[in-house]
Symmetry: C2
Subunit: 217 residues, 2 copies
């Protein structure tokens, strides 16, 4: 399967996000309302984007840690297709989100954001509880402190794919990084500033799409 | 020191939150904009409450996991006194928040929310990085699944106090639970529905305050 392309709108306002999104919104597969934008404007960007892009997957990156059923209802009622949970959340919290996701007619889903010292033991528990998606990343701050993609990253990502998770990969991805993952069945690549802040965001989104098609069928 | 009393506004709208807050807002020490309210309305509740309660500690419970400096600037610029980080965030993320917190004239601070499999090894790293506050809780969902406060909880809380953290305790706290912690230098108790949804929220807030004064000087 060809990996999807997601752009993270980590803008301080929806207005700012729209300035670049309007260029490539129809090219990408998943529109992410980033945590920064949620903190600024709550769920209003989700409602807005659902109207503008009725056919797209819209992700609410709220990184829920607790009160799973309430948060899931908030995100999905606003129009999100997917929402994120933080990896250190109690399994009950994730199960509550999952339960709520099944109450909708459309395909809703939960992504687990892998930060810090998550373990494959925990990943097994997520799998057994019916969770399907994980997001593997270098944190923005780790990235800023100069860490690059490593063999260790690739081994962990492979192991998650082998566990049959749909794996999304993120963390300062550039077009030239994609081939690093060419032997893995990546579900989705997230670009943020790499596309949003490109000189020509539309062209850059197309470049990502073309590069993905080179390595995955 | 007498523990502070905090109420978590885990409402779906600020309007709903204000209905009870106006009864006890001047009695409590810390007003928390809960994650649920942040997800609904972004930072607007922080700005609103800063105007209504200029002298109170206002906490933005956003449970930041990444992009520490941007999130900290967002919360503190809006008027928050404290903000939360999730325990599985990279230490660089926490350091970035802390660094931003020191750029303000007023006393700003970061609280680390303890969820999942956090360890005392990690806690040592937080301490060394200069972080001062942790929030110990039973998750709402763990609580709903029937887990009560245990000796294990008290031992962990004591160990955190002994490490010289300012420890906040939360998770479905009722007035009658407070004495459980009487031998510990708790920094702050959080009540949520226990006060918000009491028949007489003002009286209940006063009951919490009186109970705290019974056991701590």
């Amino acid at each position: 399967m060809i990996p999807k392309l997601q752009v993270a709108l980590d803008n301080l306002s929806l207005k700012d996000a729209l300035k670049s999104l309007k260029e490539y919104g129809n090219i990408i597969d998943v529109i992410e309302v980033g945590t920064i934008l949620h903190v600024s404007e709550g769920l209003e960007p989700i409602r807005f984007l659902r109207i503008l892009y009725p056919e797209k997957i819209i992700l609410a990156d709220i990184k829920g840690a607790d009160a799973g059923s309430i948060l899931a209802k908030q995100c999905f009622d606003a129009g999100a297709t997917w929402m994120t949970a933080i990896c250190c959340a109690d399994i009950q919290t994730m199960k509550s989100m999952l339960k709520v996701s099944k109450e909708y007619e459309e395909d809703k889903d939960i992504q687990i954001e892998l930060y810090g010292d998550w373990t494959f033991e925990r990943a097994k528990i997520w799998k057994e509880a019916g969770l399907k998606q994980v997001v593997y990343h270098r944190s923005r701050d780790a990235e800023l402190s100069g860490k690059d993609w490593s063999d260790e990253d690739l081994i962990k990502i492979k192991k998650l794919c082998d566990m049959d998770f749909k794996v999304t990969v993120t963390g300062g991805l550039k077009v030239e990084n994609l081939k690093l993952f060419k032997n893995l069945p990546i579900y989705c690549f997230i670009a943020g500033r790499g596309i949003r802040e490109a000189k020509n965001p539309k062209q850059m989104a197309m470049n990502f799409k073309e590069e993905i098609k080179k390595y995955w069928k």
